[in-house]
Assembly symmetry: C2
Homo-oligomer: 258 residues x 2
């Protein structure tokens, strides 16, 4: 099977044009087939504020009201996605931007209301890569925004880390997939206050220990749960690393291992 590198990028990297441009250059120089999945950073929160749309958060997770859904559709699906595509085209990388609604790539259901009503948040139910693979095999680089659809005309806001692992799993039926979670740090840290404490290889057992001790907490936990889910379902390799390490294999970063 051909190699395919799926890079997920989010956080501050997407927010700052300078770091974004650097990432695109590094991403572009990855050899072989590749897919980029992006979050939206704080830009959606900013635009929401300017538009007077309330940014509701419960336990660190965004509640997607109808108005906020329009904002994320504008910011993730339009502003961020299309500027990444134009930036990659400028580097000679033939990119095409998609949401989960395009080509029916990712179907989701509106998250069922239990204790919390997350609003227009989507839980992935199906990934279809048929037409996407046609493009990939022609040398096109898909750039995917964190939006899905319910097949009934509704777009849904969906976690980019989850989209990355679900896409990696679906693509691993056809390619040898390496999934790379890019963020500001050099990897998963054993001490959150020490940027040099990168864990080179994170086994399931080690992960459990660090979770118990509290060294790995907050946003890193769902990211790593997604990583293990990917490894359990056919993805060949998962890395958590700094965007700058993208093109330097063997350098810093955390290899997630079963």
């Amino acid at each position: 099977m051909d190699k395919l590198t799926l890079v997920k990028v989010g956080g501050k990297i997407v927010e700052e044009p300078e770091s974004m441009n650097r990432l695109l250059k590094d991403f572009k120089s990855i050899s072989g087939y590749k897919v980029l999945i992006h979050g939206g950073g704080r830009r959606a929160t900013l635009v929401a504020e300017q538009l007077g749309v309330e940014n509701q958060m419960i336990e660190g997770r965004r509640i997607t009201s109808r108005e906020m859904l329009d904002v994320v559709t504008m910011v993730y699906g339009g502003l961020v996605n299309k500027n990444i595509v134009a930036g990659l085209q400028a580097l000679g990388c033939n990119a095409a931007g998609f949401t989960g609604a395009d080509l029916d790539i990712i179907r989701a259901v509106k998250r069922p209301v239990k204790d919390i009503d997350y609003g227009y948040a989507g839980d992935v139910v199906d990934v279809n890569t048929r037409e996407l693979r046609l493009l990939i095999n022609e040398g096109v680089t898909p750039v995917i925004a964190p939006l899905t659809h319910d097949g009934k005309g509704m777009l849904l806001n969906t976690n980019a880390d989850t989209i990355a692992s679900e896409m990696a799993i679906a693509l691993s039926e056809h390619y040898n997939v390496r999934l790379v979670y890019c963020f500001e740090k050099d990897g998963v840290l054993s001490n959150p206050d020490d940027d040099d404490s990168v864990i080179p290889e994170l086994s399931r057992e080690l992960y459990r220990e660090y979770k118990t001790s509290g060294a790995i907490a907050a946003g890193m936990v769902p990211k790593l749960d997604n990583a293990y889910n990917a490894l359990h379902n056919g993805v060949a390799e998962v890395l958590v690393t700094n965007a700058a390490n993208l093109t330097r294999p063997g350098s810093k970063g955390t290899r997630v291992a079963l």
Copy 2:
């Protein structure tokens, strides 16, 4: 050559969810290959107002400031485009939304400054349909937003009527293309105050007469200039009609003829 219908829709139809949904149903039932090109309606102006971005117009044409470029990228490339795609998916039509930057479909140059500086407005220089045709031939329906790119990383705001005729010309090398300009009226009117005065067939000569008399004026002139440009460059048929007439050939509407 296979038949392909390219529909351009704009104005009030895009603004109102009800008329938009009706259009999508009519559009969906067109048989054979099809492409949808949309404008943005007044939604961009509205969002710009809410964001405090000044909406500059000179002689009825929008000046695209850097801030306004972000607004149209959000509204045309995100909000409008992705909701059309989700709406078509709900009808069982496998749509995919694109700007001119995606798949490098439409390259443009920032309009040279003569008397007026139009800002980030793009004049089309090249249309590439290679990857798009792969998708079309697989049954995918492209939905195209009125944005192009300059190949150097900059998105550009581009007139949707122009994109429609340029795309129709490029696709007519590979398909038998029918270009349909949809708007609120039943066709081109010989008397702007009488909705029943639809001109069934508009020859070049008749067009000249109506322009001289002032019966055809304002926004209709560039639309028809685009229509004649398309007919002169290989497009088989151009219609100007009401969206509701889309699926009823032989009914009302103006056939533009050389």
